[in-house]
């Protein structure tokens, strides 16, 4: 869900002082210390893979959000907001908040009550082994590839910003993540993610504060953007009536149905990278509150990501350009807006904290990928398909080793990407291949008792193949875009939205048709897995202020208000 960074030229953007280096080194020392401290608390499978299922709603919620808040997320979307204006905020609001609330209130009870270790694990309980095998293998593949691509991109960013050697950056950051995740498992990953979340805010929050002071507040910012670009850059919905009326080349239906109803629902409710954090909650109420807390903070993230991009458009004396043009002219690209703003306002010390925020973002994203890969590999591939009856101790050892091996494969992927940079362009496509149909499969499994094992498996497979097929069709014949994305004016992002929508609908249709033609499971076997066959624990014993639905309504109202304000 992040624009790709692919700049590899130009001298460093900023120069660090000794105090900045001390701050960065202290950060590495602290995350390693947390890993070593938690090693003794990761002896059983439940401890290592599920953090003992004892996290509070706040810890699980901040970790849930932090695992997604990678450095590419920060830099990529800041660049996207410079390029597309406030439209980029859709990926934080309609592209996240409804899905997070849906996860909390509708889907989490089934994940939590079924006591599954993973999303593929839920598919095993609901649809059987073939569906789990398909989703776990595709997830493991996607995760290590994403991890490697993120690793390479971060190393490239550090090279551009600081002049650091790519090999050095990859080695130091990946070894650090491998050590603290292998030692403390998911608990260590979660604790560090919470720390990283706080550091990201501490390091990035000054940019919008100082930027707004320089620009003369929100009205001054809008006035400058109207002069430097166009007043449409500060409107969220009013330009989405036609594909050609906005710089993103997208229609509101793509945003609402493709992004809001499919891509974000798929990512936030079925991507195990984020769902795993919530599954570590200490009870069902905490598991429902965690995504709601995450949603509350997610709504504020545009303040440190989107706003700096807009401020760059308003106050930077230079004009940022696309990657290709930047390479050709030696100028700065959109993706460099965040470090440029950092260098503009932050002196010694603050600069070190800002760079630490970027590194922390990268490491939280990578640790999220690695810990999710480790769990899916150990429980859903190794234990399910290779060695079924080993001891708990054996699986914990496998978890530690697969952490190291997962990081090693990611490093290999990172070097592969260096030679084949076009692979980075396919990241968004990969996401729509696997996550969009998975959402339809899991949702039907949870909400429709009649869905059968055959329906679930063939639906998931056909949705994935449909997505790959549409992607290949447009690659071979670009004019096919008018059919896949409904308009010849549609751009890459719009194509991803619509492809995800069609693959999700394909999966749902095939699942329904085959389920109606095959024999369903008896209701007794669906207990704890499906709506209507599961008793959801009552929350009447807690006050209104402690009930998830109350806070979901509060977050929902805030979501509507911000969309109206920036309409």
């Amino acid at each position: 869900m992040t624009p790709v960074l692919a700049f590899a030229r130009a001298p460093r953007l900023v120069h660090l002082s000794q105090i900045d280096l001390v701050i960065i080194i202290f950060y590495f020392a602290l995350v390693l210390a947390i890993g070593f401290y938690l090693k003794e608390q990761a002896n059983t499978g439940e401890d290592f893979f599920m953090a003992g299922r004892e996290m509070t709603a706040w810890i699980a919620g901040l970790s849930f959000l932090s695992a997604n808040l990678g450095s590419l997320e920060l830099m990529g979307w800041a660049g996207a907001s410079y390029q597309y204006g406030i439209l980029a905020a859709h990926w934080y609001w309609i592209g996240a908040i409804p899905a997070m609330l849906f996860l909390a209130l509708v889907m989490m009870p089934f994940y939590y009550i079924s006591k599954t270790h993973s999303v593929p694990g839920y598919l095993k309980l609901r649809f059987g082994e073939p569906a789990r095998a398909l989703s776990s293998i595709s997830f493991a593949f996607m995760t290590v590839l994403m991890s490697g691509i993120n690793m390479y991109s971060m190393a490239l960013v550090l090279k551009i910003i600081l002049g650091w050697d790519i090999n050095f950056s990859i080695l130091v950051s990946s070894v650090t993540v491998a050590i603290y995740v292998a030692l403390g498992g998911l608990r260590s990953a979660i604790f560090n993610e919470v720390l990283q979340f706080i550091l990201i805010w501490a390091g990035a929050l000054l940019i919008p504060i100082l930027g707004l002071i320089e620009a003369g507040g929100w009205s001054g910012l809008k006035a400058r953007i109207a002069v430097n670009a166009s007043s449409e850059y500060t409107h969220l919905w009013s330009t989405l009536g036609r594909f050609q009326d906005n710089p993103m080349g997208i229609h509101w239906t793509g945003i609402v149905f493709g992004l809001g109803a499919v891509i974000s629902m798929g990512y936030w409710t079925t991507d195990f990278l984020v769902v795993q954090r919530v599954l570590s909650s200490k009870d069902l109420r905490a598991a429902k509150m965690a995504p709601i807390i995450g949603a509350g903070f997610k709504m504020m993230v545009p303040f440190i990501v989107i706003l700096p991009g807009l401020l760059g458009l308003a106050v930077l004396p230079i004009k940022l350009v696309g990657e290709t043009q930047a390479v050709a002219t030696g100028g700065h690209s959109y993706n460099e807006v965040l470090p440029l703003m950092l260098a503009r306002y932050c002196g010694p010390g603050l600069l070190g904290l800002g760079i630490t925020a970027l590194i922390a973002g990268f490491m939280s994203g990578m640790a999220g990928n690695v810990s999710a890969f480790t769990t899916v590999w150990t429980y859903d591939i190794y234990r399910a398909l290779i060695r079924k009856d080993a001891s708990d101790h054996h699986y914990v050892s496998m978890g530690r080793w697969s952490t190291v091996i997962g990081v090693a494969i990611s490093i290999g992927t990172a070097y592969l990407v260096m030679d084949f940079k076009s692979i980075m362009d396919y990241v968004q496509a990969l996401f729509s291949f696997f996550i969009a149909p998975l959402f339809a499969c899991v949702l039907l499994g949870m909400l429709w008792k009649r869905a059968t094992a055959a329906g679930g498996f063939w639906g998931l497979l056909s949705g994935t193949l449909a997505s790959v097929g549409m992607w290949a069709w447009v690659k071979v014949d670009p004019s096919a875009l008018r059919y896949v994305a409904l308009s010849p004016y549609a751009r890459d992002m719009a194509e991803n939205m619509y492809r995800a929508l069609w693959s999700c609908l394909t999966c749902a249709t095939v699942t329904v048709v085959i389920s109606l033609l095959t024999k369903p499971k008896p209701e007794s076997e669906l207990k704890g897995l499906v709506y209507g066959a599961t008793e959801i624990p009552s929350e009447t014993y807690v006050s209104t202020l402690h009930r998830p639905w109350f806070w979901a309504v509060v977050v929902g109202i805030a979501f509507v208000v911000v969309n109206i304000i920036f309409w």
Binding site: I23, L30, T56, L195, C346, G347, P348, G349
Partner: protein, 73 residues
């Protein structure tokens, strides 16, 4: 949330904010005494002094509030 042992995650966060805050605050004070030749935009606001001070205060609060043996979670 305790870290399984006796240390809370919020204590680690407090330590991080306190150390970073002190370093940034100290750096800001040094810049006040020896103004740099090349200044950042809005240097006159001395962001590293007040931001460093804010982080230090927040870090100190967390360190004290979640210190080992205080029984907080």
């Amino acid at each position: 949330m305790k870290a399984g042992g006796s240390l809370s995650i919020w204590l680690f966060i407090g330590i991080s904010l306190l150390v970073n805050g002190l370093l940034i605050f100290g750096s800001g004070i040094y810049e006040l005494i020896h103004p740099p030749v090349k200044q950042v935009v809005l240097y006159n606001l001395h962001a590293n002094v007040w931001w460093g001070g804010l982080l230090t205060a927040l870090g100190a609060f967390y360190c004290i509030h979640f210190a080992p043996g205080k029984g907080r979670v």
